[in-house]
């Protein structure tokens, strides 16, 4: 079937709630209203109010309760309505979720998923547009997944729910509904921790994820004289170093694109990895195209903040002509 990313996410939750009655869905406005983006629509009708629940406005409570449920044998899917509201619950992710297996030497585990729409580009209010994936990827024991296609969104979310460890599932809301893609019926999984090569090429490796995959694709399509190898990272943590490094060894050049601020952003980690493992293959410095080191501006200026295709094109061209 053809579906948008948000429909694919909804489909994944229908599948997994049907497959495993230990799966619960909860968060702010997820039950009665079906979620502000309709990601949880129909779940309460199908699975009832005991398994699909509206919570108080309470990010610490939501993520903390998910940990309590997960360590008690459930498979909670908690929604944080916008990733900009996740920081209060960062404490729970760092203090409890990510380390409970390690701390208890495997006695307790937290197989839980925290879903959250992230990123700019939907003309939202302040605190609705952040992309802090690098901060979460820095937490040992916490997986961070970012799908960019409907197919991956469904398969990776099912993997996240089944994962024996906590997964932060960041959904690129800018492209929630902007296109449709083929989504298989029924249950299937896409692995976490594995990048996807979206286009093979010889001249330069370009790495992106989430909504930036689509901006990058536009840029690459405009550069018809450059043979780009396009990698969709899909998981920020664990990181598929091998796919990136092997590609850079082949092309000798690399551009990383992300929407998050530049300083301390995940591009830095990728560049360090390339330095470690492929320095002698490089024919140009690794370039990065990122958001600026400022909060995401309000809607009047947010499009200037987001790396747009012309900026990405420039960086790719500079790298191949270095």
């Amino acid at each position: 079937m053809q579906a948008t990313i948000v429909e694919a996410i909804n489909d994944a939750m229908h599948e997994e709630m049907g497959n495993d009655d230990r799966t619960l869905v909860f968060g702010e406005d997820v039950a009665e209203s079906g979620g502000v983006f309709r990601a949880t629509e129909g779940l309460q009708d199908e699975f009832g109010g005991e398994r699909v629940l509206d919570t108080p406005l309470s990010e610490i409570g939501i993520v903390g309760a998910a940990i309590g449920l997960a360590t008690y044998g459930f498979r909670p899917i908690a929604e944080i309505q916008f990733s900009g509201f996740l920081p209060p619950a960062f404490d729970q992710l760092v203090t409890n979720a990510s380390r409970i297996r390690w701390r208890t030497r495997g006695e307790l585990t937290a197989p839980m998923t925290v879903r959250t729409p992230y990123g700019a580009g939907v003309r939202a209010l302040e605190h609705h547009s952040e992309s802090l994936e690098a901060a979460y990827a820095h937490v040992p024991g916490l997986k961070v997944a970012v799908p960019s296609t409907p197919h991956d969104a469904k398969g990776m979310l099912i993997s996240a729910v089944r994962d024996p460890d906590p997964v932060l599932f960041m959904e690129p809301k800018h492209v929630y509904r902007s296109f449709r893609g083929e989504v298989p019926e029924g249950t299937y999984t896409e692995p976490l921790g594995k990048a996807a090569v979206r286009a093979e090429g010889e001249d330069v490796t370009v790495v992106a994820w989430g909504a930036m995959m689509h901006k990058t694709r536009e840029a690459v399509d405009a550069l018809d004289d450059v043979d780009v190898e396009l990698i969709d990272l899909r998981s920020i943590s664990p990181l598929d170093r091998e796919t990136v490094v092997e590609s850079v060894k082949k092309t000798g050049r690399c551009v990383v694109v992300h929407e998050a601020p530049k300083t301390g952003g995940f591009a830095g980690e990728l560049i360090a990895t390339i330095n470690d493992e492929a320095l002698m293959y490089l024919e140009a410095p690794v370039e990065r195209v990122t958001g600026f080191d400022v909060p995401v501006p309000l809607l009047a200026m947010e499009d200037f903040y987001i790396p747009q295709p012309p900026r990405i094109e420039e960086a790719i061209r500079e790298t191949v002509t270095y």
Partner: protein
């Protein structure tokens, strides 16, 4: 409309507008044994003579463990330790009231609760020696110690939620201090528990201090119990130095929680020792206050009760202490015998399946240790503490 859009100046009113304050609510303290030693016989909870004597033995055990663990820390044979001195009635009374099936969310000072529910004294010592294996909490149904204050409270709410969904005959039992009730996690956690009718008991030992900050500096609330009322939770305020009253309060709270009404119990007590062995309470509280609370010592109060009931003659105080000392000696030996951990230990258990990068970090580190055995010497000789 005039061009002047400035707001009106605030003034005063003399109308009779009623305001509510906490002082309007009379919060009583549940107590069975008065500080002066008197009690109403009819109010004694229905416990066998053996159980009544056990309560005393456990309190002695808590005290001896605290004394000896503190000494071990002073000799460098234990890391930082948090003593429960002065809080024995709260720790033991609550621990006695809960069931092995209940999941305990400890905050660090309640050795007795964990020991009552099956944790070995060896593992308690290993925990304070900084050995991760002890956080398995083997033999006891406990989540592990919440060092980040208040962080376990929403987790306890979530586990209680799971217990309710499962239809388990059990509660989540969270231990916390008065300081925790200032954290955001506390407020979100108890609110959440109230909304989902979680079978949870939030047992607050109001020991008057959070490190150096007194209860007055912690909150403008008169009591912790009133905070719970704001969220629709039921609350019990109990004399935390009266072991029978704590036992009864937590038993009642547990029953209510099982019926779907989470309860906060505030046990009013006093931390007679330092916050931890890293702290010097002489800097922030005066001797007079400490002495005043020493007069309300929970062991002494309960001993007087046992004497009045003719039960103390069954207890040989020296023998109880000797027994605990012997147990403690054995636990120290067992802790000393615990196999030394390998460095691989720190890389394991983080994920169900260790990712390749982490394997690689371990391999690189092991190679370094092989090349540079002086690393071990360096770590061995590094000044500790």
């Amino acid at each position: 409309m005039t061009e002047d859009l400035r707001p009106l100046t605030a003034g005063s009113v003399d109308a009779d507008v009623e305001t509510l304050s906490q002082a309007d609510i009379d919060i009583g303290v549940h107590r069975i044994l008065e500080p002066d030693g008197t009690y109403d016989r009819a109010a004694i909870p229905d416990l066998s003579d053996d159980a009544l004597c056990d309560l005393y033995r456990w309190m002695v055990l808590q005290r001896v463990v605290d004394e000896r663990a503190t000494k071990l820390q002073r000799r460098g044979r234990l890391g930082t330790y948090a003593s429960g001195r002065g809080q024995e009635a709260s720790i033991v009374g609550s621990g006695f009231a809960i069931d092995d099936a209940d999941r305990v969310f400890p905050y660090g000072r309640e050795a007795g609760t964990l020991l009552i529910h099956g944790l070995s004294l060896r593992d308690l010592l290993l925990y304070w020696r900084g050995i991760e294996d002890a956080s398995k909490m083997e033999g006891t149904n406990a989540f592990g110690v919440a060092i980040s204050i208040g962080s376990h409270i929403p987790v306890a709410a979530g586990t209680a939620w799971g217990m309710k969904l499962n239809g388990d005959d059990a509660i989540a039992f969270a231990n916390l201090g008065d300081g925790a009730t200032s954290t955001g996690a506390f407020h979100e956690g108890i609110n959440f528990a109230g909304v989902i009718d979680a079978p949870a008991v939030f047992f607050t030992q109001n020991n008057q201090y959070a490190i150096s900050l007194s209860f007055d500096g912690q909150t403008a609330a008169d009591t912790v119990a009133q905070k719970a009322l704001g969220y629709g939770l039921d609350a019990i305020r109990v004399d935390g130095n009266d072991v029978l009253a704590v036992y009864e309060a937590v038993t009642a709270a547990r029953e209510r929680a099982l019926a779907g009404d989470p309860v906060l119990v505030e046990a009013v007590t006093y931390r007679r020792a330092a916050h931890t062995t890293s702290d010097d309470p002489n800097r922030y509280r005066d001797e007079e206050e400490v002495e005043d609370w020493a007069q309300r010592d929970p062991l002494e109060r309960y001993r007087e009760f046992l004497k009045s009931e003719g039960l103390y003659e069954d207890i040989d105080e020296d023998e109880v202490r000797d027994e605990v000392d012997e147990m403690f000696d054995e636990a120290v030996d067992a802790a000393d015998d615990f196999a030394e951990r390998e460095v691989s230990e720190i890389f394991e258990y983080l994920h169900a399946e260790t990712p390749p990068e982490l394997h690689r970090q371990l391999e690189e580190f092991e190679e370094l240790l092989e090349r540079r055995p002086d690393m071990y010497d360096y770590i061995e000789q590094r000044p500790k503490g």
